[in-house]
């Protein structure tokens, strides 16, 4: 700016009059945000909390085909806990949830790290890894069933290639069926996890890596000791999303094994659906739903707590 041209600014307009009375404006500033948020809050109160309360109530009744509003106590929970099938589902959820989350994390992270190495076809590969997210399991279930079926898919193919001892019969093996669900689940979700991690990796300060290189660390060491630990917040988000998928997984199991062979790959979501809607044991279904919700809370609350704690102490 030159000092020498003090062409005096005279601005004719001077906003002395507010367009809205001050009171009203102040009022709007305070209340508009709440007003905007309120439909969502009310919807959530009714459609989430209200419905949870409704389910909790149903779980205390003897509802069969249709809701019945007469309270009968905790009998449904007792019945639930006596059911083998419930415990099978719960155990399956544990196995599936644990492995699914573990493998998604490992596969997603590895792919993200590798994709981050200035890979030539990064865009195309990323699209390939991500596309299963786009498909519903109603769509891909049949394909997976074929691939994993020993008589039709992978096993047959590999045997025809000249490995007659190759065996991949998990789908039809009661003890292993739940693991095929893990395979398909990882297939569907690990790409998304990869995307989240990739986004996280791109956010890591480049100079940290340079510093570590100068410090003498090799690339694997740098990732292991420095970069990946720095992705901690991403791990939290990923864990949150994955546990949500795991607990709610329904389509996946339904399409692949429908809980079978027998009930060996049953999970709580299917359990609940069948008991509530086809077996006319709505009360029992509601009790199992409540147990599911409690599991969600048991996973969620510590996660959210940890994350908010971390965020507070973080930057």
């Amino acid at each position: 700016m030159s000092v020498t041209s003090p062409s005096e600014i005279k601005i004719p307009y001077s906003p002395k009059k507010a367009s809205m009375p001050n009171r009203l404006q102040a009022f709007a500033d305070v209340w508009l945000p709440r007003l905007v948020l309120s439909p969502t809050v009310f919807a959530s109160l009714l459609f989430v909390y209200g419905f949870i309360a409704f389910t909790a109530y149903l779980s205390l009744t003897d509802s069969r085909l249709m809701p019945n509003y007469e309270l009968t106590g905790f009998g449904q929970y007792q019945a639930l806990f006596e059911l083998d099938r419930w415990w099978v589902s719960a155990a399956n959820l544990g196995i599936f949830g644990g492995l699914f989350i573990l493998f998604c994390l490992v596969v997603g992270l590895l792919m993200a790290v590798f994709l981050d190495q200035k890979i030539r076809m990064e865009g195309a590969l990323r699209a390939i890894y991500l596309y299963p997210m786009a498909l519903s399991f109603i769509v891909t279930g049949v394909a997976w069933k074929w691939i994993l079926n020993p008589g039709l898919g992978l096993e047959k193919m590999v045997r025809e290639w000249g490995f007659p001892d190759f065996s991949m019969d998990w789908l039809v093996n009661s003890d292993m069926a739940i693991y095929t669900v893990v395979i398909a689940g990882v297939w569907q979700s690990s790409g998304f996890v990869m995307a989240l991690f990739l986004a996280g990796l791109r956010g890591v300060d480049d100079s940290i890596i340079k510093a570590a290189m100068v410090d003498g660390a090799s690339l694997p060491t740098i990732y292991r000791r420095i970069v990946i630990p720095a992705l901690r917040p991403v791990f939290f988000s990923v864990l949150l999303v994955l546990s949500h998928i795991a607990i709610k997984s329904f389509d996946l199991v339904m399409a692949l094994t429908a809980g079978g062979p027998g009930t060996s790959s049953d999970v709580p979501a299917i359990f609940m659906y069948q008991f509530s809607f086809t077996r006319g044991q709505l009360g029992l279904g509601a009790a199992s739903a409540m147990m599911m919700l409690m599991t969600v809370l048991a996973v969620l609350v510590p996660l959210i707590y940890l994350e908010s704690k971390e965020a507070k102490h973080g930057h």
Partner: protein
């Protein structure tokens, strides 16, 4: 006026059959709204139905069968169609056993569409011939044949490891091993003594033996893929209801020549039935109610029963339908139905929800499925069965 019908007949022959009904209704000036929901054993359809009923917009009719009709009746949401029944003289043309199923507290609330026979054994004569086996009529012969087939390098028994298929085999075995009275006592009345008695143990033993003739890839296989194994000559025999016939005919096979339909071993005199019925829901408005009665009448009309069952492979529920166009298997079915009705061996299929209410049926099905897919002993199985039968 229009009728809205919830069903899960969505594929091939069955869809064509419903289309016939639609045509007939439209001819009578009633529009047809098709509410088709496939999947599972009507699981999704039931879910949708409940939502509709709760929302206060129940469909005109829904495909509900067996004891479930009573369960829905208890909820007080069904319509009385006595008027249509009177007009069509249903009492006269339906076997009393069936008529009872269609009634709630003495009033008709549902119209039967067909009768499926479940205790069939489907046989590929070519395979049997090559293995030197003959068509079995009891379990001794059956296992003898199975051994031979197996030795010849075929799969003896084509089976799909889904709970309802397991249950189908189970009920045929129970009927074959224990006879109709045992079946009724144990599986329909859920008599604890029969459930845990030696006959039931023998049933499970037989089932366990059958397991050994099933190929290991059966788990989760759809029934029609299993049927395809018989059609293609990969397998010798299959336990399955008469709908399997549709697969054979679709593949251009002739009954009696390319494939045989015989009663499951030891059940020649008995008949396990699976009756599809359209259960009528209370609807509002005189128009709608009238259309509902029209629908009920149409379903029970001999014309419809004929076309529908020709398409679907089952036999008409009512008497007085021309037998002319039905094939040999169907004719055999019709004869057996008459005979077994008289002999008291006309029994409801448990595997297809005709025998007991859904909660108990589900629990028992779980036990059978577990037995089929684990090393459970017969002893343990009957204990579990007895416990499941107590499900409320």
């Amino acid at each position: 006026a229009e009728v809205e019908v919830l069903h899960y007949w969505t594929s091939g022959g069955e869809a064509k059959s419903v289309a016939e009904l639609k045509k007939m209704m439209e001819a009578k000036g009633v529009a047809w709204k098709d509410f088709a929901v496939a999947g599972g054993a009507g699981e999704n359809a039931m879910t949708a139905l409940k939502a509709r009923v709760i929302a206060g917009s129940a469909p005109t009719a829904a495909l509900i069968k067996g004891p479930s009709i009573q369960e829905w009746g208890n909820e007080g949401v069904l319509a009385n169609i006595d008027a249509a029944a009177a007009e069509g003289k249903w009492d006269a043309s339906l076997p009393p056993m069936l008529a009872n199923i269609m009634k709630y507290k003495g009033h008709y609330v549902a119209a039967p569409v067909n009768v499926h026979r479940v205790n069939w054994l489907w046989v590929n004569p070519e395979v049997l011939k090559k293995s030197g086996a003959k068509v079995p009529t009891n379990f001794a012969e059956f296992f003898d044949a199975a051994d031979k087939i197996k030795k010849a390098g075929y799969v003896a028994i084509a089976h799909g490891g889904q709970p309802w298929q397991d249950a189908t085999v189970f009920e045929s075995v129970a009927l074959g091993v224990g006879g109709a009275d045992f079946y009724k006592k144990a599986i329909v009345q859920l008599d604890q003594a029969s459930l845990t008695g030696p006959t039931m143990i023998k049933t499970f033993d037989t089932l366990a033996k059958i397991k050994t003739y099933i190929d290991k890839d059966s788990a989760g296989r759809d029934w029609n893929l299993a049927t395809a194994m018989v059609i293609n000559g990969k397998a010798g025999m299959q336990f399955m209801g008469d709908w399997a016939k549709g697969e054979f005919t679709a593949a251009g096979k002739q009954p009696g020549k390319d494939f045989l339909c015989v009663a499951a071993p030891g059940t020649e005199k008995s008949f396990t039935f699976n009756v599809d019925s359209l259960t009528m829901f209370a609807v509002k408005g005189a128009d709608a109610q009238k259309a509902q009665l029209t629908l009920a009448g149409a379903v029970m009309s001999p014309e419809f029963q004929e076309v529908f069952n020709l398409n679907k492979g089952s036999i008409p529920a009512r008497a007085g339908v021309s037998r002319a166009k039905f094939d040999s298997c169907a004719l055999k079915s019709m004869d057996d139905m008459d005979a077994s009705s008289k002999a008291g061996s006309f029994v409801p299929s448990f595997a297809h929800g005709m025998a007991i209410d859904s909660a108990k049926a589900g629990a028992i099905q779980d036990v059978i499925a577990k037995f089929m897919n684990s090393n459970m002993t017969s002893q343990a199985a009957v204990q579990a069965l007895a416990k499941a039968a107590k499900t409320k």
